[in-house]
């Protein structure tokens, strides 16, 4: 009898142990969903490059940390549409047991997925989208906004331009949540620094011909035409402004430009422009080392969205390992507790409103003759400390923050 009892006890213990482990990391798998624009306007900014960055993060994490759990990555195309994004998020959370959805380029999709994540008690890490709404009026406790936001962009670029004498502004704004948010944040910064906003024109997203809007901007007589749009809308605006002789009489300020935009327009068209970025590949040995690995896989240098995504996913996986859990609250608490130190951020941390605080950089695009090797595009003019780059909590509209 005795051996049998012993067997039963051992079996029961094993069963309980297995149960206990399962309660921590469900099925012993951490599943990451990359929801991004795989083929549209923003697919160079994030898209397949973002999926690659996540895969790199997972590979490096596995090699370095040797986790006891398996890690899976799934990816899908949200086509920059909020409804598609939220449908996919529901499917991933409900059926496919995805623990965290990330990338989320385009503000409308980020806002949609954040809501679903809150409802399903899962995590959303936004790297692609820009609106400050994500950590302000629409904030929640399961979302982290990693790479940049419209406040940081406006604060970096608009402030620098106003201080250099660009006092009067006219905006060319993409007519959706992101563009409006960027215009508003930039206007606040301009006025606060003694500049003046003469007006704005809102163009449909995505647009093709911007000449009409540019003529309106030209007629305003503003010194600076602020481009509160992104991706191809920005590149076409810049190209057409040159065609109509608007530049160099009036100057353009690209409020959100990525290195992929500069690469596609060329330095001749973009030289001298100021822009704010969360990452530049050629800053130090660590950024160069990672970016060169990325380049070997994608044949392009990473944008800040892609670099930020690597950092975010690594941080998430470290929190999952530290807590031995993929429970949303436990992992979020661990993520908010640990500091972020990697090639992307130094001494970064996540605030209660979900904002990941890290330094931003004001850069100026080099002249063609100053560029010595491929992708040698920026001169870093200023490091903007995290506390200055992002909106202070005292002005927060996030319900989680008690002011």
């Amino acid at each position: 009898m005795k051996p049998n009892t012993a067997t039963t006890v051992v079996a029961a213990a094993l069963y309980l142990m297995a149960g206990a482990v399962a309660a921590q990391i469900s099925d012993n798998v951490v599943k990451i969903g990359v929801l991004t624009d795989m083929s549209g306007t923003y697919s160079d900014v994030s898209g397949p490059g973002s999926v690659e960055a996540v895969k790199m993060a997972v590979e490096d994490f596995k090699a370095k940390e040797k986790p006891a759990f398996a890690i899976e990555v799934v990816a899908a195309d949200h086509q920059n549409k909020g409804d598609i994004a939220s449908d996919k998020a529901r499917q991933w959370f409900d059926r496919d047991k995805v623990n965290v959805i990330t990338d989320l380029v385009t503000t409308s999709t980020a806002l949609a997925v954040m809501k679903v994540a809150k409802e399903k008690n899962k995590i959303a890490i936004v790297s692609g989208a820009a609106s400050t709404r994500i950590t302000n009026e629409d904030c929640n406790d399961v979302t982290v906004h990693w790479t940049y936001d419209t406040y940081a962009l406006a604060n970096g670029t608009a402030k620098a331009v106003v201080q250099q004498g660009g006092k009067t502004w006219f905006f060319l704004t993409a007519d959706y949540a992101f563009g409006q948010s960027l215009e508003k944040d930039a206007s606040d910064v301009i006025v606060a620094n003694g500049g003046k906003v003469l007006g704005s024109v809102r163009h449909p997203f995505p647009g093709t011909d911007f000449s009409s809007f540019l003529l309106t901007a030209q007629a305003s007589g503003a010194q600076i035409i602020g481009l509160a749009n992104a991706g191809q809308d920005t590149t076409n605006s810049i190209k057409q402004a040159a065609e109509f002789g608007i530049t160099p009489k009036q100057s353009l300020a690209g409020l959100l430009m990525f290195i992929s935009d500069v690469n596609s327009l060329g330095l001749k068209a973009t030289q001298g422009m100021y822009l704010t970025t969360g990452f530049y590949w050629d800053m130090n040995d660590a950024t160069r080392a990672w970016s060169n690995q990325f380049f070997a896989r994608r044949k392009a240098m990473p944008t800040m969205v892609q670099a930020g995504l690597y950092s975010a996913v690594t941080h998430y996986l470290q929190a999952a390992k530290a807590t031995g859990s993929n429970d949303t609250q436990k992992v979020m608490a661990a993520m908010k507790k640990a500091r972020i130190n990697d090639f992307f951020a130094s001494n970064g941390y996540i605030r209660d409103d979900g904002r990941m605080m890290h330094d931003m950089y004001l850069v100026q695009v080099k002249k063609p003759e100053e560029s010595k090797y491929p992708w040698d595009y920026y001169r870093v003019r200023q490091t903007i400390p995290a506390e200055e780059a992002f909106q202070p909590l005292s002005r927060s509209k996030c319900p989680l923050i008690k002011n």
Partner: protein, 295 residues
């Protein structure tokens, strides 16, 4: 300075001019679609992709083989046309007798494949194509600076549109084409090689798309998405003008370009919708389109 609804007349004239520029692009693209639909009964959804291909061929020609803009303007439409002929011979010719839907689906699929190939190869951010040296600079029209290149684009596209209209409506070749559309069997019985004509028509139609692509390359960023951004509007133009109507597509293309330009002045937010509102109204009042004949 006098004003109309709060907008200075000079600014308004500028916007009208820009509307004309865009309208002439719409006209050239919708003309190709109308010709193809009229002769082949195919709703060619690959048109935008072929326009994009034209722009990319111009860029590739300049970057890889040193072929300048002027040469590209002649060679690229021919290359795109030949590509079109290959499509017609291998795919389209089998589906003429089927419902429109099959042609639409086939060409839509083709468009996705062509775009996908270019996107894979070049990414979506696109490639810069400079304005050719003799056409840089602008004319001062008093009320606006019209870039020389845009003026050139209007001239080329209007000339091509009118020449096409003349060829189809006023020449013997055009008469054959129209006869082949009306009654292919009888036309063939009279000794005219109808399949050859159909093939060349498709090649010509998509060649126009290629030409529009070359014309667009210096003003828009050459990108795999440039066709799909434009094609929906162009289809609306064809529907408003009357499917298959040559003159209809030219007039409507230019007209809608101007209306769109005006909406950009008075209510920019609506500028991407206005074309479709007009389409809905026209379809309610005249289901065959403004210039279409009721069948």
């Amino acid at each position: 300075m006098s004003e109309i609804f709060g907008v200075p007349v000079a600014a308004l004239m500028g916007q009208l001019m820009l509307g004309l520029v865009n309208g002439s692009f719409y006209a050239m693209l919708s003309l190709g679609l109308a010709v193809i639909f009229g002769m082949l009964n195919i709703i060619n959804f690959a048109h935008g992709a072929l326009y994009m291909m034209g722009a990319f061929l111009a860029w590739m020609g300049l970057t890889y083989w040193g072929i300048g803009y002027g040469t590209a303007l002649i060679l690229v439409p021919i290359a795109v046309g030949v590509f079109g002929v290959a499509i017609e011979r291998t795919l389209l010719q089998w589906i003429y007798k089927l419902d429109h839907l099959y042609g639409l689906l086939l060409t839509f699929g083709l468009a996705l494949v062509i775009e996908g190939v270019f996107r894979y190869q070049f990414g979506v951010s696109g490639k810069p194509y400079g304005i050719p040296e003799p056409l840089t600079g602008a004319f001062n029209l008093g009320f606006m600076f019209l870039p020389k290149y845009r003026a050139w684009a209007i001239c080329v596209s209007l000339t091509v549109c009118l020449a096409t209209w003349f060829m189809i409506e006023r020449t013997r070749l055009g008469a054959y084409l129209r006869a082949a559309t009306e009654n292919p069997q009888l036309t063939q019985a009279l000794g005219i090689n109808v399949p050859l004509m159909v093939m060349l028509t498709y090649g010509f139609g998509v060649g126009l798309a290629g030409l529009a692509g070359v014309l667009a390359a210096p003003t828009f960023q050459v990108s795999p998405l440039m066709g799909s951004n434009l094609i929906i509007v162009v289809f609306a133009v064809v529907v408003i003008g009357g499917m298959g109507s040559i003159l209809g597509s030219i007039v409507t293309g230019i007209g809608l370009g101007i209306i769109e330009g005006l909406s950009k002045v008075f209510y920019p937010e609506a500028s991407s919708v206005v074309v479709f509102v007009i389409m809905a109204v026209v379809l309610i009042l005249r289901p065959a389109g403004l210039f279409g004949r009721d069948s």
